[in-house]
Symmetry: C2
Subunit: 365 residues, 2 copies
């Protein structure tokens, strides 16, 4: 697994090294805005078949890397694979998003939740990781990922997506010890799952806390951040002699970046509602920052996209530790050529000293 990385800008940015330019990848870069993705998606028949067929998951993972020459690949999968492996019965209602047949509502439901062996029911994910890693053949690093325990718990208790999270928050306020037990089991599952991804070839990890931002500051620390801390503490931090950087992303978590940095993670995802200069000040440059263009900016003209890219680069300012990204996943109805404009603008506008070197001698992994 120790192929030399031809482009390790992403890993070095998370290590806060000085680089010739700012690396760029995009959340949900493999997805429905790409016609080549839609073709494979149709071939697979349904979304979970696509996730659970390593060759197809590999194919769609590589599509945006090929098309846009991005600086990282991210495993094509879903954050709900873990609850599905716990037996909750994940399925997708057309136009409705994910649903669980067996949501978790009672203390007994929680007690009956297994911690899935990642090499058993989640083996298909590890097979996808090793297939992608082989096919990447060292072009760019591969990012593995998981949902945060709190975010997974919202889906597990609500039985799907939610608008006001009344069931999971009802549990939080009326029976917090049951929620803690659920979060404990989910945390153990996430740690095993992510470490298995590293064993299978993931070179960096990201934890998506999509719904941490619906909590109060005190409840965020108690019910979301505390469990992400356990994960950071429990993860393999090195593979093939190279650091495996960890990025935490709490959407709408801009006010908590300082305590997130305290976990000892390497980078923080920042959505577009926080100015990157503020984010740097709050985290005192202890971590790298990833973000944070408003995904809707890609609805603008090419000229406008360049202006917005420059605004993000300028808000980060000089110095190391920036990974360019959208502030959340790319929208379904974006013109793929507009993403190309964004990527080109990042490469061009962030270039320092005219250098284009994408790999540091002696730092391969």
């Amino acid at each position: 697994m120790s192929t030399v990385l031809q482009n390790d800008l992403y890993l070095r940015a998370l290590n806060r090294e000085e680089l010739p330019r700012t690396p760029v990848w995009v959340m949900r870069q493999a997805g429905r805005y790409l016609p080549e993705y839609l073709r494979v998606r149709q071939q697979a028949g349904d979304f979970m078949t696509l996730c659970s067929t390593p060759e197809l998951a590999c194919e769609v993972t590589l599509q945006p890397v090929d098309r846009f020459n991005l600086d990282a690949a991210i495993l094509f999968s879903d954050i709900l694979t873990i609850p599905d492996a716990m037996g909750l019965g994940l399925h997708f209602e057309p136009g409705e998003g994910p649903r669980f047949s067996n949501p978790v509502r009672t203390p007994a439901d929680v007690r009956n939740l297994p911690v899935p062996d990642p090499m058993d029911k989640l083996r298909y994910v590890m097979d996808a990781v090793s297939t992608i890693r082989r096919e990447l053949n060292g072009r760019v690093p591969l990012i593995g990922f998981s949902g945060s325990p709190w975010t997974l718990a919202t889906y597990m208790v609500e039985g799907g997506g939610s608008k006001d999270f009344s069931k999971v928050k009802g549990m939080l306020f009326s029976d917090p010890s049951t929620l803690h037990e659920l979060l404990n089991r989910t945390t153990q599952s996430v740690i095993a799952y992510l470490n298995a991804q590293v064993s299978a070839g993931a070179q960096s990890l990201m934890i998506f806390d999509t719904w941490g931002g619906v909590l109060s500051p005190a409840n965020y620390r108690e019910f979301s951040l505390g469990y992400m801390q356990q994960i950071v503490d429990g993860l393999t931090r090195e593979a093939d002699g190279r650091k495996v950087p960890i990025v935490l992303f709490t959407k709408n978590g801009g006010q908590w970046l300082d305590v997130m940095a305290d976990t000892g993670c390497d980078g923080l995802g920042v959505d577009w509602t926080t100015d990157l200069a503020d984010a740097r000040a709050r985290t005192q440059d202890r971590v790298a920052l990833q973000g944070n263009l408003d995904p809707s900016a890609l609805y603008g003209s090419p000229e406008r996209i360049r202006v917005e890219v420059k605004r993000v680069l300028d808000s980060f300012g000089t110095g190391p530790g920036h990974v360019f990204n959208l502030g959340h996943g790319i929208h379904q109805h974006v013109n793929p050529e507009h993403l190309g404009v964004m990527v080109e603008a990042v490469r061009e506008l962030s270039a320092r000293n005219g250098s284009t070197q994408e790999s540091a001698p002696g730092l391969h992994g």
Copy 2:
């Protein structure tokens, strides 16, 4: 209209005066969680009939004030009355929320938008205000309100509620001048509408910027806050010889409280994702703060609700300028008795020096 106010704690809190206890009211306090509301709602037939029948709007406005002995009444109405009066054709699809038959999508749509005379098509709102004011008979102050121009624009362009605001953000990034023209017309309409509410008897005003928090900091200032500033500058600030305080509330706007305070408003609504101690530090006590219990806390037990109320009071700390409220509207499925527990806890836990005086001599309006 100059009835003596028997309880003016709310107005004095917004004026940052020292008070015997913290006043309390609740966003959406007149609403579906109350069985007495549901009875009137059924009698009215549909939601807009309820809003546009002054006697019924008055009845539901007073219900929670009667039941919980709250410190303020808020006009029962909807933020979408203005776009409806502009001719957009507001209607409510069962289980779907508000919809407009004629959304605003093109420069021509925007040019054709009238600035409605509040005494013509919005007369029913003013009639409701004067009816409520008469029926309150000085018990507590009456709050009038409007949506912010940006928040109204999201509904006007999307044609209803939205998840990712692709149409209005598409306009923002691809044709910002058209969006500015829409916001200008809406701003003029809001100013006329709120000033008419004050003429009809509203004693305080609140501007709900429910969707400002989906913008980047720079776009928030340009497309939302800038127009709220124009409104603050254009409003009647005194009536019956007494100040008419203005409260701005941007949901998920915790990071921008400092620039919001710069508008010269009297108070800021704060949702539950921001600690009130941080909010005070950021605004340097220049404004009063209103909030900020997580509405879902009312799903907890009475004991838990008291703990959470105390946490909010403690986070504000000592000194004047706090109005207790939820951090957003009360949820539909909350047990009304739990709101009673919250209100009692606020009264009891915030009481200073055992005083229960609810009106300052010589300060009536």
